[in-house]
């Protein structure tokens, strides 16, 4: 298993390389540049700016320099946030995104799995229908409607929780963003768990287990749930990477200093280095989580072998 993991990690290097290359050239091909503003600046000043950020060099030379930087861990300066390097911006934002995303994903997994299991065990009852309807509703209302609504009701009208801002990361500041971020995930996880559990409960090995006279509780927890969680795990893998790197909408509406907004704002500002930095980082995280998923699969499903 260890050799498998190591081999997979080495295999990720060319993948990352392709990602860096694709992102670099796509970004540069987009019209507009990082220093365009409402004011038009004299050509000489623009030339100075391009020179200062080495954007006047041939594209391939810039690409080579960037690759060199990435290899030595230098992601370059941000063009927009001039007081910070890309590395600093990611280091600053990551703890925030990790905290919000981590709580949201763990909460969503627990809540979703519980609700999904209940629905599966009470299949076709009113409870099941209500839970599944709720789950679909969770997916059917966009986050950018839910989030401002929550902050309006709980922040402005009831004044129970802060409207926005990070504070110093006190729990009061975490509640609304975590809830808004977790809601659709709870819904997805619940549906996946329900479907997986229903399928497993019909399978031969559960029937065998029951036939052997194992108590229902043991059948459920020792055998069924493990298998039922497989699709959940494979969904949560990539989803976790996405959620941990932040949600653009949640961060914008709740004014959180995470790294999610960098994907969008960085791309819109043509902050080339910042966007590249978060893209590379995100790519590495996705690859890592896919590996974790595969390893978890092995732990949950004895049929999987690493060759």
């Amino acid at each position: 298993m260890l050799t498998y993991a190591v081999r997979r990690l080495f295999g990720a290097v060319p993948t990352l390389f392709v990602i860096v290359t694709l992102a670099f050239f796509m970004m540069r091909l987009a019209p507009g540049g990082p220093f365009d503003g409402e004011r038009m600046v004299p050509a000489e000043i623009e030339a100075n700016l391009l020179r200062a950020y080495e954007l006047d060099r041939p594209l391939l030379a810039q690409y080579a320099a960037y690759l060199g930087g990435v290899l030595t861990g230098d992601l370059g300066p941000s063009f927009k946030y001039k007081d910070f390097s890309v590395g600093e911006l990611i280091r600053n934002g990551l703890p925030v995104s990790l905290r919000i995303g981590g709580i949201a994903i763990v909460g969503a997994a627990l809540a979703g799995a519980t609700l999904g299991s209940i629905a599966a065990l009470r299949r076709n009852t009113v409870l099941d229908r209500a839970l599944m309807t709720g789950a679909i509703a969770g997916v059917a209302v966009p986050t950018f409607v839910v989030a401002p609504f929550l902050s309006l009701v709980f922040g402005v009208y009831l004044a129970w929780l802060p409207v926005a801002g990070w504070g110093d990361g006190q729990w009061r500041h975490l509640v609304l963003p975590v809830v808004a971020l977790a809601l659709p995930q709870v819904a997805y996880v619940a549906r996946l768990t329900r479907a997986g559990l229903i399928e497993i409960l019909r399978s031969d090995f559960i029937r065998t287990a029951r036939a052997k006279g194992l108590p229902e509780r043991a059948v459920l927890f020792r055998h069924a749930l493990r298998g039922a969680l497989l699709p959940v795990v494979s969904y949560l893998g990539p989803a976790t990477a996405g959620i941990l790197t932040g949600s653009v909408v949640i961060e914008q509406i709740f004014g959180l200093p995470g790294i999610g907004r960098h994907f969008v704002q960085g791309a819109l500002n043509r902050d080339y280095t910042l966007v590249m930095g978060v893209v590379v980082f995100y790519g590495a995280l996705i690859i890592l989580f896919n590996l974790v998923v595969d390893l978890l699969y092995g732990a949950l499903d004895p049929r999987v072998r690493y060759d």
Binding site: P31, M40, A52, K82, I253, P257
Partner: protein, 534 residues
């Protein structure tokens, strides 16, 4: 006798008040002001900034030779006095002897020399290097033709700064309020280089010093004990919160999380005016919103009457009353009212009623050969944005309903839009909004000159306009200068190169307990003038 009694009474009063104030001082917790500051500040480096959010923070951190007063008029700052030579070319500033950096060292003329050289140095790549171009050799330095040491600025001694201009520049003093001309500490900059703006490194000479800078979250400043006016600074700590989402900002204000806002959602203005009248603030703002014609393209290039027709048909009163709803002033000129030493000009038809304008517009359209059977097709370019979209829809409807013009509303993502507009690659019309950098008509008129190496949105080219401004640039009689510039603005308006839509206002919120928050045309609000009441 009576005088003595009065004196005694006064002394007792002072004693009572003094001890009272002292007791209050001890009891009082730290005074904090929490400002919504709009989009995240890009940098605290005064030489690399481009946006207003940065400028508001820098105005609290630093102080220039001149400094904005509570109403944004220029007041002596680090310079306690100055003299100007008879030919208006040499300014000699005397610096206050109690001007100090936050590390306790004195602010010297050498600091200014150092900062100004850095601003124009091509290696700094400052957007605002232009701000010092009136100084001798500045432009050549930025263009890499001369070394920064040749800049026409000299430290005669520690407290005397001598500036030599290349030509008389009446707005030179007003420009000293702009953060790009503020000083940075030479010692700190030489020690830390570009990192001199980091918390712990940043040394400032204004009322505040930097405590924290968390990207996308906030900048925290605390009172600078070495500031010469520190005794009058009431607020101990000021937070500049990044509030990119204006709806969220307004909600935070209502929840009491912010004391002031940067702007506010247009759809909340009417409600706030009615329900939070003590907190709602609005004042004219030094800017104009226009539509520019691309004068390189037909039919606009050779048809000023057609341009005028479109301009006439816009019912600006209806637009500001029903659509923008922020108390904006309908614009008939390019330069806003309230400009120093200047009388704003208006389009020739400003005196007509809207019905008369519509009538004239229809006639002009017909003369130009457009009508129901030959409708004019117009493509209008803008960036995405709720406000731009609402205005565009309203104007397109007016043109359609009155003149039968078919408008294709084209929206581009911000940077793509700038790229298209800056290259004058749009077809017919593009939106353009401008906020003056310093209170002088020049800050607006320069934009449409064709002889200074910067394109303008309309690609307006008029030799007479350029000549008038050139003459105004060296005219040291302010009245004569104003006449020349007014003549230039009239030429721009009569050419109908642009359609003025409205002059900006700045609706925002400031809680009733924020005292000293005074509306002004530049929308400057230095925290040192603010106090927190009940």
């Amino acid at each position: 006798m009576r005088d003595i009694r009065k004196l005694m009474a006064g002394a007792v009063m002072a004693l009572v008040l003094g001890t009272g104030a002292l007791a209050a001082d001890q009891a009082r917790a730290e005074t904090v002001l929490r400002r919504g500051n709009g989009p995240d500040a890009e940098t605290l480096d005064i030489h690399k900034s481009t946006g207003m959010p940065d400028a508001y923070i820098q105005m609290d951190l630093y102080e220039g030779l001149l400094t904005p007063g509570p109403d944004a008029t220029p007041q002596p700052g680090v310079a306690e006095s100055w003299t100007v030579s008879g030919d208006d070319l040499v300014y000699t500033f005397t610096l206050r002897d109690d001007a100090k950096w936050s590390d306790g060292t004195p602010v010297t003329a050498e600091d200014f020399v150092h900062s100004w050289r850095r601003l124009v140095d091509p290696a700094t790549a400052a957007d605002y290097a232009r701000f010092l171009w009136p100084v001798a050799n500045a432009e050549a330095i930025t263009k890499g033709e001369k070394p920064p040491e040749t800049l026409g600025v000299r430290a005669v001694d520690a407290r005397t700064l001598e500036v030599t201009l290349r030509a008389p520049t009446p707005y030179f003093l007003a420009a000293q309020m702009h953060p790009s001309t503020y000083p940075i500490s030479k010692a700190a900059h030489e020690k830390f280089g570009a990192d001199h703006v980091k918390p712990g490194n940043l040394v400032s000479n204004g009322a505040y010093m930097l405590a924290e800078h968390v990207p996308q979250s906030h900048v925290k400043l605390v009172k600078n004990p070495h500031y010469h006016g520190a005794a009058d600074v009431a607020v101990d700590t000021v937070f500049f919160h990044a509030t990119e989402d204006i709806d969220a900002e307004f909600k935070r204000f209502r929840a009491g999380e912010l004391d002031t806002t940067y702007e506010m959602p247009p759809q909340q203005i009417a409600w706030a005016e009615e329900n939070m009248p003590d907190a709602f603030r609005n004042a004219p703002y030094f800017g104009t919103y226009v539509y520019a014609f691309n004068l390189n393209n037909e039919p606009w290039k050779s048809n000023p009457e057609l341009r005028k027709a479109l301009s006439l048909a816009i019912d600006r009163d209806l637009l500001v009353e029903k659509i923008t709803q922020g108390g904006e002033l309908p614009a008939y000129g390019w330069i806003p009212q309230g400009t120093n030493h200047y009388e704003s000009q208006s389009l020739d038809y400003a005196g007509m009623t809207q019905d008369e304008r519509d009538q004239l517009a229809r006639e002009l359209m017909a003369e130009a050969g457009y009508g129901p059977d030959n409708p004019l097709q117009v493509e209008y370019l803008s960036n995405a944005g709720e406000r731009h979209r609402k205005i565009a829809i309203a104007i397109a409807t007016m043109w359609k309903q009155k003149l039968g013009v078919d408008v294709d509303l084209r929206t581009e993502e911000w940077k793509v839009f700038l790229d298209t507009r800056d290259k004058n690659a749009y077809k017919d019309l593009a939106r353009f909004g401008w906020i003056g950098d310093y209170n002088d008509a020049n800050s607006f008129l320069d934009l449409f000159r064709s002889d200074i190496g910067v394109q303008n949105p309309a690609d307006f080219e008029d030799a007479e306009y350029d000549a008038l401004l050139k003459r105004a640039g060296v005219e040291d009689d302010l009245d004569k200068r104003a006449l020349l510039m007014q003549e230039a603005e009239r030429r721009l308006l009569e050419a109908h190169a642009i359609i003025p839509i409205h002059h900006y206002t700045r609706p925002h919120m400031a809680a009733p307990h924020v005292k000293g928050w005074i509306g002004n045309i530049m929308n400057y609000h230095l925290t040192r003038y603010v106090s927190i009441g009940e």
